[in-house]
Symmetry: C2
Subunit: 123 residues, 2 copies
DNA sequence: CCGCAACATTGATAAGCATCAATGTTGTGC
DNA sequence: GCACAACATTGATGCTTATCAATGTTGCGG
């Protein structure tokens, strides 16, 4: 396995860090190669129109969460494709997945969008 | 010509709009398809480690601008590749290009990063 | 246990992208 | 005008990705 789809290992960037393994080496003026690669993964997840719409729909929903069957129709995409995009957003740390019964409910990770926005202004 | 590389027509999104041709139709709850496609172009420009580093280097420079010859070495990339990435960032409305003599100086478009960050929080 | 419904995963395919070598363009100095 | 330096552009190549059809998995109702 481990097909290395280019979207893994992002969570360390958006989750609370407990040591200095993340971010810039304190005194570095410009972005290092490793750091840039990790940050690019978040933006790669955002670099697709359908994924932006998914985030928007999930956010706009009154209950704060949506299941796959609610997302397939507005995007005019097949169910496997929607599941694929959702997985990418979850791996990017932007969406949270909770399975209840047969349904899978997706919701925004609190503060994730704001934290990603901070990646830009603190470039 | 008009090879449609997928990075054109972004400037209208980041430049001051004089009419209602941009953004959501005022009352729309979720992102429309056209709007999503335009916003995705900005994040597509950010979805590459080397382009993030380019932005970082240009921003960190004391003079506020850098020429291509200064950017080739730190990225360990060929000159045509760096020019290609810079073009994508310019087309995305993030960088500004000014040619003086033989050199081309690239600088951050003021407020572009902040405005892009706003695209996220206002999803 | 059986059938079905909601998702996830796999495999295949076409489109897109990053990179480089080679070449073109343009400005400078002689 | 000539040679050179700094970039830009073109063409080719290998890798990545978006999408779908088909199949696998899991939970619920009978």
């Amino acid at each position: 396995m481990l097909r290395h789809n280019g979207y893994m290992d992002l969570l360390p960037l958006l989750e609370p860090v407990t040591d200095e393994a993340c971010c810039a080496p304190a005194g570095a003026p410009a972005l290092g190669a490793e750091e840039a690669k990790r940050k690019a993964l978040v933006f790669k997840a955002l670099a697709d129109p359908n994924r932006l719409r998914l985030l928007s729909i999930v956010k706009a929903d009154a209950s704060g969460e949506s299941c796959v069957c609610d997302l397939t129709e507005p995007l005019n995409l097949g169910q496997p494709t929607v599941s694929h995009h959702l997985k990418i957003l979850v791996d990017a740390g932007l969406l949270h997945r909770e399975k209840r019964g047969t349904w899978a409910y997706y919701s925004l990770v609190p503060g994730a969008l704001e934290q990603t926005a901070g990646l830009l202004t603190s470039l």
